[in-house]
Amino acid sequence: MPSIVKPVATHPSLQRNDLGLTIRDYEGTMSTLCAGCGHDSITAAITRAFWEVATPPHMLAKLSGIGCSSKTPAYFVNGAHGLNSAHGRMPPIATGANAANRELVYIGISGDGDSLSIGLGHMCHAIRRNVRMVYVIENNGVYGLTKGQFSASADVGSKSKRGDPNRMAPIDSVLLGLSIGATFIARSFSGDKEQLVPILKAAISHRGFALIDVISPCVTFNDHEGSTKSYLYTRQHDLKATETDFVPPASEILAQIGQNGAVNVSMHDGSMVRFKGVPPNYDPTNRGNVMDYLEEHQGKGEVVTGLLYLDESVPDMHEMNKTTGIALTKVPYQKLCPGAAALHRLQEDFR
């Protein structure tokens, strides 16, 4: 992926976060995606979210597969290591990275081709393991880099640029995630930063795997009339099921003064996610309830957005494994090698 270095110029009046860093410190190289690409808006939201929660840049690891979406980790947080891997294989690589060092924050950027076709199995199993990471699917319903083939998320009846309708049922990552035990499921729209940034911040604090499917129109191949992943269609059919506030740990006491109808969920790291404006009878902590709501509204062609489901009670991969609390890479070798005397004793069993 070609990258263009951005000039570093920081205006003195730029706001600083808890680490004293400005938003410029969370930017990456210049995007080489098409002008108007939804992915660039998501990049901006990600940049903002990490700046706001003040993640030290080097404590973030950015991973991706292959595709337009997978180029984007180069476009945010320059100070973080990035790994642009192979098509569909980001989830296992992120799983291994997390296995080695649980102290970092992980974000994986994927697309609908990457996650719902070639890497579908990997994504499902990363969900099952509840690998602690933010997992963003930049969902445009189309293969961009190979010029316009339908992806597995294309809706029935959605038309390609040439006018051919898709006839196969879509794989919906949100419904799929619900069915296989995902613990954090959100859908958003690249054009709605106000909604996306708090979702990303909540995802960073989540105990396990945070799945965020972001409808991200492809201006070149899938933004025409008849497409169900266009800017126009998404704006017209967007149904915000929930609005969320992310309340960092320090503000917790304030947040507990609940509002009417609000659902507060305490996050594993002491922060809180407050759901507000939730429809009557919608419980974002009840899987069946969320499933029913989605079936009803998606059946009407609506694009249901928001942080849709959250369960903080499920242990992540390391908790299930009872891994030591520090990064495995920090365990000194002396603690890992049993030594010559132990080998001598052990070999009495091999006689």
Binding site: P73, R89, P92, T95, N98, A100, H122, T329
Partner: protein, 617 residues
């Protein structure tokens, strides 16, 4: 008849899933404890219950324990294979069978002694539970063999006691069954047979271990913390053993927390991905698999090679192609591993020959992977991995420190004006890397797409080639770091023999036998790829070199012709690839045939060097 002591082979024909493995293992272990050189080869089916399975035990006081093809005694406990089994007994040999039912006269052989013991009848009379009646038949025939071969009864009793410690009922029934077979033999046959066992002291500094256990132990000692795998025969027991050792050695005594993580992946694509992710983050990570798994891993192996991420892949080879024969042995993955993945790639391979080298090479694999920032294949096979071998006690040097390769510390990063990933290479063409989580200045974008020496994306030919050319030089530099070949020269040698891995004992034995027949050859066993310079000079020294390996396509020979300047026609292949371990006879016959000498269909293999006389009536 002259007696033969500590020099014979027996084969046990069983039905799998009936409990024969523990009886056969008991015999093998008892012989080992008697201090006698011994080997056991389990020739088993890809099945859980009901198919034929064989176990071969070879005893040899001179230490020749490669697979023998000359069976002095056949224990014929499987009626499905009886007709074939009887044909394999050597002339003048013995066949032990269950005489609860009459033997089909058509299957008798005049030149073989038949020993009938009514095992089923004895067990039916003495045990009530149907399952127990089947299981105890095995221990009963073991009892007969204890009498017939003069296995030390005290040692057998001690083994049973250890095995069934705290399980009184089981211990009692096993001891009773053992006694049934033992007493029957003593009452009905001349015990011992003309070939039998006598205590020696050859094993006081030896252990009995399979390669998968040894390799797992090696990974623990090497400091591996992340293991990712997908279950596959014949490598599964390696990860099972790693888990057992980690539970023993890697649980923090104070917190009870684990200083390791084992992830059972969704497939091998994921398993290697996890290894790469963990190694990218600085952990010692590995996977264990077999040929079909390597096929799936090809894609990401290219990423690890090109992006220069360490990875250790244990390949316990089995018979291919496709599903092939999962429970049979082969060395068929050499080319697949040497050049795994699309585009120009070359990988480091290590070839252990025994469980002892499996243990020894595991830390070497991790050291090389991190030193050269690249995948390293530790290539075992089913014979090494799943059979119990008698090997010298494993040794560990507490002074060992892992070679973590060129990884910049926080201090080094702080003193660096700018970090550029693929610059600053050392004499081995390795550039320093940085790990996530250390310093924002050290960050870079690891990519499998075209990149220049600074780590930036490129589509410019010169920039791309510069990196690819360095990778080639880096691979070549590794030749000086892989374990050196083992060489054994003879003064009168007229040819060379080059082999690898588990062929070692059969080839060494064959060279001893050939020398007696006047065909004297030098021996070289390669232990790593890229090949050390000494491989090229060994080939140059000899007019003819036999390359002995266990695959159809002469893959080691191909690798030698591709990677050295040896003329192709100088290399003569001896190939055994049917799925059973190599025997010296294969090698002897291959060499004799090449020289136009008469093949020896059967020979009294390893007894010769000490002047043992063949059995006679």
């Amino acid at each position: 008849m002259r007696n033969r002591i500590n020099d014979f082979a027996l084969k046990l024909a069983n039905v799998n899933g009936t409990g024969s493995a523990s009886a056969n293992g008991l015999l093998m272990q008892a012989i080992f404890r008697m201090g006698i050189p011994v080997s056991g080869k389990n020739l088993f089916p890809s099945n859980i219950q009901g198919l034929p399975t064989w176990y071969e035990i070879r005893v040899n006081k001179n230490g020749y324990t490669a697979r023998s093809l000359d069976y002095d005694l056949m224990v014929a406990m499987n009626s499905q294979t009886y007709a074939r089994d009887i044909q394999e007994v050597r002339e003048g040999g013995y066949l032990l069978y269950d005489s609860s039912w009459p033997l089909d006269p058509a299957l008798l052989r005049a030149d073989v002694h038949f020993l009938g013991v009514p095992f089923a009848q004895l067990c039916n009379d003495n045990f009530r539970d149907p399952r127990e009646r089947i299981l105890m038949k095995n221990i009963a025939y073991a009892g007969t063999l204890v009498a017939a071969l003069q296995v030390d009864m005290e040692i057998v009793a001690a083994l049973l006691e250890e095995k069934f410690a705290g399980k009184k009922k089981l211990s009692e029934s096993n001891t009773r069954a053992l006694r049934l077979g033992y007493d029957y033999a003593r009452d009905h046959f001349d015990c011992p047979l003309p070939f039998y066992l006598e205590k020696m002291d050859a094993n006081s500094d030896k252990i009995l271990i399979d390669g998968n256990t040894a390799i797992a132990l090696g990974c623990v000692y090497a400091g591996a913390t992340v293991a990712a795998w997908y279950p596959i025969t014949p490598s599964t027991s390696a990860m099972d053993a790693f888990k057992v050792f980690c539970e023993k050695y890697r649980k923090d005594p104070e917190t009870g927390q684990n200083n390791y993580i084992i992830i059972q992946a969704e497939d091998e694509l994921a398993a290697i991905g996890m290894v790469i992710g963990a190694a990218w983050n600085g952990a010692r990570a590995f996977t264990s698999t077999a040929g079909p798994g390597i096929s799936l891993m090809n894609e990401l192996l290219g990423l690890a090679y090109y992006a220069e991420v360490p990875a250790v892949i244990i390949d316990v080879e089995r018979v291919g192609p496709s599903t092939g024969m999962p429970t049979r042995t082969q060395q068929g993955d050499l080319l697949e591993c040497a050049y795994a993945s699309h585009g120009d790639t070359k990988h480091i391979l290590l070839f252990p020959s025994s469980p002892a080298e499996c243990f020894e090479f595991a830390p070497v694999a991790f050291d090389l992977a991190e030193r050269f920032q690249t995948p390293v294949f530790l290539m075992s096979d089913l014979d090494i991995g799943m059979n119990d071998w008698v090997v010298p006690r494993l040794k560990w040097d507490d002074a060992y420190q892992p070679d973590r390769g060129r990884v910049l510390s926080l201090e080094e990063i702080e003193n660096l004006p700018k970090f550029q990933r693929y610059t600053g290479e050392d004499e081995n063409q390795v550039a320093p890397r940085t790990l996530p989580g250390v310093h924002p200045k050290a960050s870079y974008f690891t990519r499998g797409s075209g990149h220049n020496r600074f780590g930036g994306y490129t589509e410019i030919p010169d920039e791309y080639q510069e990196v690819m050319d360095r990778l080639l030089k880096k691979h070549k530099a590794a030749a000086g770091f892989v374990p050196a070949p083992i060489v054994h020269r003879r003064p009168e040698a007229t040819f060379g023999v080059l082999t690898l891995g588990g062929c070692d004992p059969a080839v060494r034995e064959a060279l001893d036998l050939l020398a007696e027949l006047g065909a004297v050859g030098d021996f070289m066993r390669v232990r790593g790829f890229p090949f050390a310079d000494s491989v090229e000079s060994f080939l140059a020294e000899h007019e003819i070199c036999f390359v002995i390996e266990q695959n159809r396509d002469a893959q080691l020979r191909s690798l030698l012709t591709l990677e050295t300047n040896v003329p192709k026609d100088k290399l003569r292949s001896i190939l055994v690839y049917g799925g059973f371990p190599l025997s010296a006879r294969h090698v002897v016959n291959g060499v004799l045939e090449e020289f136009g000498l008469e093949r020896k269909p059967v020979f009294v293999a390893a007894s010769r060097p000490t002047g043992e006389v063949p059995m006679e009536e």
